[in-house]
Amino acid sequence: MRLGMVIDLKRCIGCYGCQIACKAENGTRPGTTYARVVKREWGEYPNVKRLSIPVLCMHCGEPPCVDVCPTGASQKRECDGIVFVETDVCVGCRACVMACPYGARYFQDESRDYFGTGENAYEECVYAAHQSGVVEKCDFCRARLEQGLEPACSANCMCKARIFGDLEDPNSEVSRLIREEGGFQLNPELGTDPSVWYLPPER
């Protein structure tokens, strides 16, 4: 099995719902957004177009972050292809941050809170699960998967722009969409073989 995601750029309206759902699920500190939305504009007035591109860890088939990790903290699960960080083993050398072409890794270098007035009760609760001095990233919500749920970003996408499934199953919806709707990966020339695919915004 190889878990992956298809993101339909035609359906995405750039509402940041995935980003908020991810932050709520993982309780990440300010500046850390495992799932973020990149906006790109092109053309000239009055013919201007805007594209919203949700970006997360691509859970690459050939993850460069795993190769460069000196401790083995960055790992890829053989059973489903999820790339994750064993934070108890990470030394915070940030070699993986340099190696990741997708900006999916975040070094937790200081204790920040959202309002600059010290951590509130909610923040104290959710930040307790995070170590400082280590690198963190999206893990496709492993805890949710173990409960039979989808990752928070795809479960909460109100436009159904994110579809989660098994890329190795030719009958899965993700495989069908990639095959029939012209799915593509980001930066395929780097040889990372991402497990997150995109469907073109115009088709």
Partner: protein, 304 residues
């Protein structure tokens, strides 16, 4: 810089087409450049000192590699208390190989410098091992950067060659400064002659590296333009070019006209070279930008 400023910077960077790397240069990230600077000149100094049997240089080399570089490495890590875990993956990671090289160098150098072990087979073995480990230290630094698939400016075999050359010339410069400060038992003239050749060759390597970068695609070209005409150009021209190349060559070739004492001149050449060695590493690391996230073939085809 306050937390809010750093957050704004991160948000700004994530919106950029060419996102600059900051984790290995800003704030505590600068320590990795400092660490590589000291381990490079330390390893270079060990090789020169061993070649010319210069005992003070060997002690200085150990102080640079194990002391200054070691402390900078540990201070750079987010969790220094787990540093020993970096020994676990020499078969995959250049960082791990470098940590092994530094560790082996430390043990072997102690064997060389320990009076009881200096002569005899143990001393000979330790000397050979220390030279091999010093070469490995010079080699690994460039490959740490070249292994970063996301930053095209670093991803070239010229970078390890550049780091080796700068490590060697930095080591020679350290010995020149030591000689100027009164270190004796060291043939200054022979190192000076070799050093001129090394400085000239590093100048050629820097030029080749920039030319290769400007032909290696969008992100690498952006890095080159930031070096030669952008936000890093003051450091590049002032530190790498002027202090690191022009001054050492100028003082070596035209130093006689200044009528300075020879050791003062050598010290000035050495200090200028060391500044240049630091700045070339600083500039190359600072110029690293990530490959664009979007703008890949698929998005351009579908969206434009």
């Amino acid at each position: 810089m306050s937390s809010i400023d750093r957050l704004d910077l991160r948000r700004h960077d994530l919106g950029q087409v060419y996102r600059p790397q900051r984790d290995w240069i800003d704030g505590r990230g600068l320590l990795i450049v400092v660490a590589h600077f000291f381990s490079g000149i330390g390893a270079g100094a060990w090789l020169w000192s061993t070649l010319y049997d210069f005992r003070i240089g060997q002690w200085l080399s150990v102080a640079c590699v194990l002391g200054l570089s070691g402390v900078a490495h540990l201070a750079f890590l987010g969790r220094w208390d787990r540093f020993w875990r970096m020994l676990r993956r020499p078969h995959r990671s250049w960082i791990s190989r470098g940590i092994w090289a530094i560790g082996v160098f430390g043990l072997a150098a102690c064997g060389v410098l320990w009076p009881a072990a200096r002569s005899g087979p143990v001393g000979g073995f330790a000397l050979g091992l220390s030279v091999a480990a010093a070469c490995a230290i010079l080699l690994y630094e460039g490959f740490v950067y070249a292994a970063s698939r996301a930053i095209p400016f670093w991803r070239t075999r010229l970078l390890p060659a550049l780091y080796i050359a700068y490590g060697l010339r930095g080591g020679a410069a350290l010995l020149l400064v030591t000689a100027a400060l009164g270190g004796d038992g060291f043939d200054v003239a022979s190192v000076e002659a070799v050093k001129l050749w090394v400085v000239a060759s590093t100048a050629v390597l820097v030029l080749l590296y920039l030319v290769a970068g400007s032909r290696a695609g969008g992100a690498a070209r952006e890095s080159v333009s930031q070096l030669v005409a952008g936000r890093i150009s003051p450091s590049f021209y002032g530190g790498t070019v002027l202090a690191g190349i022009v001054l050492p060559i100028g003082l070596t070739l035209g130093g006689d006209a200044l009528a300075l004492p020879e050791l003062v001149l050598l010290g000035a050449i050495g200090i200028a070279s060391l500044l240049g060695d630091f700045y070339v590493k600083y500039c190359i690391v600072k110029a690293g930008v990530y490959v664009p996230l979007v703008g890949s073939a698929g998005v351009q085809r579908s969206g434009s």
